[in-house]
Amino acid sequence: MPRATQPVLNAKVPAGRLQDKWDAYKDVVGLVSPANKRKHTILVVGTGLAGGSAAATLGGLGYKVKSFCIQDSARRAHSIAAQGGINAAKNYPNDGDTIWRLFYDTIKGGDYRAREANVYRLAQVSGNIIDQAVAQGVPFAREYGGLLANRSFGGAQVARTFYARGQTGQQLLLGTYQALSHQIATGNVTMLPRREMLDLVVADGHARGIITRDLVTGQLERHVGDAVLLCTGGYGNAYYLSTNAKNSNVTAAWRCYKRGAYFANPCFTQIHPTCIPVSGSYQSKLTLMSESLRNDGRVWVPKDTGDPRPPSQIPEADRDYYLERRYPAFGNLVPRDVASRAAKKECDAGRGVGTTRLAVYLDFAQAIRRLGEQAIRERYGNLFEMYARITGENPYAVPMRIYPAVHYTMGGLWVDYELQTTVPGLFVLGEANFSDHGANRLGASALMQGLADGYFVIPYTLGAYLSGTALNGRLTTSHDAFAQAEHASNKRLRTLLSTQGDKTATEFHRELGQLLWNHVGMARTREGLESAAKAIAALRHQFWERIRVPGENGTYNKYLEFAGRIADFMELGELMARDALAREESCGGHFREEHQTADGEALRNDEDFAHASAWAYTGNDQAPVEHREPLTFENVQLSSRSYK
């Protein structure tokens, strides 16, 4: 596997004490004067928490912002589906939380594969996010005295999670969307919904524009700007079945990869432990049950394999509360990767429950006895309703059946401390970048990161770029780079439509998903990864010969959109397998069966793998080149991650 010998990645982490880095950076960073801000056009792709907050904030500062989203409205981005909460080191409950502890929990939760300085900054600004959201009118849960309520989440021993029932993502996103709407009203932000970014335009070495397709008319459009902010979320849908929305995809990020942005740690994917199990082959997506449920729900399986009894008839003595047994210190609140692998282990051993035997129980009986049904209803009412709607069962009476599902991707485009990629002028925010969660993300940290990037980081780092870079102010969309990118997009669309083979995009997607789930999922082996990489390459070639896309370009055509995205997912899938092969260790969500302890826990290899792998595109059907950013830990002691 080709690997670069010269280090080319400069993370640009400021010097100084960890606690002082961000302040020191802000003290000296270049600024753009108010009169000059309005001369800059910033293209922001995606309107989730990262993109929405960035567009609103930059608009508020006086930049001219063009904001793009794939849905019919900016309010629908998939951040909206986040349920449980958002972390912040406010220490309102007085239970011992500090910025350092949030930083430490996040670094440890990520299994020491994230950059210290980024994570510390995230913890530092976490409190400001809550302040900002409250000022916007986000209706967080409150105590009777009128102050904000907190709950605990996986991977932490303090209660630092703020929430709005089980709809925290919705409420934070609507806060962001409303701030964005305010800026649309002021005229600083122009909103372009129902647009898909199909390419990045790099001119004279800088990201200067994007090509979008108007999803209603099929028209390709050219947009020029002084910087591009990619806030397009993660790539979990590569697995076909995931908790992501149907439109979530990697296409915009993948186009950037092909234009020179490095893709980091693609094998770091998060399989969430508490999702509603698969019911049949028609299944189009999986639904998450918030991790917050593990505050009060107890996970168990029958002690005997294949126990046929319904849960109500299995006495306590015949139940194995395996998380509480194996991890007494954290119990049901172990991090997601640990909980998922433990569920898989029980089901692989034949102790799974339900008709498919691919599920474990999440039981609230004890919490209901202790707190009363009303208290549980107040905490989780909407989640229980959702479970009942999907399964037809009443979780107040019968334990929930849950199983892990693909949920989040820690990998993403490589960015430096300023959130800038290896393409100058291209910044990546939120789930789309790789920066803060290492090999595993803790619950309630995605919302925190998206909003930290958009509200509090990019306003400074973008200013640094714009004030320190001489851009050609006369560049327009008639530059050759635009014509070339538009031509490439057009050609691809024509090929997709004209092939008229015998297999639909969904059929290809399902096959790809099976390969990834089986071999690049919760447990990975060298043989499995090698066979998956080969099979995906073969599937990719088959795709371009046999794909059948209905309809035409000049109209609303969902299946044309899907086909293009699935083609990109296949290329990404190969890179995921390649990255997983190269990483000869187990860490976080990446579990290589060859690397485990005697009792089945992940075995990290800090000697050889304390780095981020950033892959550089070198051409179709050519092996990408791996660059390594060494991760240096000056402030935390690398230890084996124990939740026992």
Partner: protein, 250 residues
């Protein structure tokens, strides 16, 4: 084991905003009680693509009832027969083997049809942009606990803030009014101290924008509340009227 069902669909097909539309009959023979209604449409579309016909376009995204993208009339009811359930969470166990189901887009003057079951709901975005926010920019917010809010007010605000902006209220209203949608945002923000400062201007601007978009007025049918997947109460409309009158009489 899941029961297999045959479902007879009659679906509104319309090639574009100006094209004439019509109802077309389709049969899905291999439906199953655990499928969602949108998965039934997925199965139909796969069949259509293989037959060389155009698939049925419908908006959807999260498929867990929170993004508000989906929404069609199922048997004449916005989001279908199950209360407090968006159509993506409506499962086929709500139907019987052999059922005939008519599927149509949300219809309103202010929601022009884009294609088949897809409508343009951008009028909702313009109503929010008219004033559905607290006028803050990023930074400078006081400590979150500096402004206590009673639990009752926060809970009630949350009840209104739960709106997903799907447009079912408009589709169900005999006047195609957007009152419940508009009122939900007005009520959410007016109930909180942060939002009450601009409450008068907000109520007037949002109601005026609603009218300008071509939505009708409310005449107290409460069909909106009945179909709302989030169960938003029509009391919000009372609140909206009160805020509006208070503002214009100031």
């Amino acid at each position: 084991m899941a029961k297999s069902m045959t479902i007879y669909l009659r679906v509104w097909r319309q090639a574009g905003p100006e094209a004439p539309g019509r109802l077309v009959d389709y049969t899905v023979a291999d439906a199953n009680e655990h499928m969602s209604f949108l998965e039934l449409l997925d199965v139909l579309n796969e069949q259509l693509i293989h037959r060389g016909e155009d698939p049925v376009e419908f908006d959807n995204d999260c498929r867990e009832g929170i993004c508000g993208s989906c929404g069609v009339m199922v048997g004449g009811i916005a989001h279908g027969p199950q209360q407090r359930t968006a159509v993506c969470q409506l499962h086929m166990r709500a139907f019987k083997d052999g059922d005939r189901i008519v599927v149509e887009p949300f219809r309103a003057k202010a929601f022009p049809i884009v294609k088949d079951l897809v409508v343009d709901r951008s009028a909702f975005d313009r109503i929010i942009a008219a004033g559905g926010y607290v006028s803050t920019t990023t930074g400078g917010a006081p400590d979150a606990n500096a402004l206590p809010v009673s639990k009752e007010a926060a809970d009630e605000a949350m009840d209104y803030a739960a709106c997903i902006g799907c447009g079912a209220c408009v589709a169900a209203c005999p006047n195609a009014s957007a009152s419940l949608f508009t009122a939900a945002k007005i009520a959410h923000l007016a109930l909180l101290p942060q939002g009450s400062i601009e409450a008068p201007q907000r109520a007037v601007a949002m109601v005026d924008q609603m009218t300008a978009e071509g939505f009708g007025d409310c005449s107290n049918h409460a069909e909106c509340e009945a179909v709302c997947p989030k169960g938003i109460s029509v009391h919000g409309i009372t609140r909206m009227r009160r805020e509006y009158i208070k503002a214009v009489l100031r």
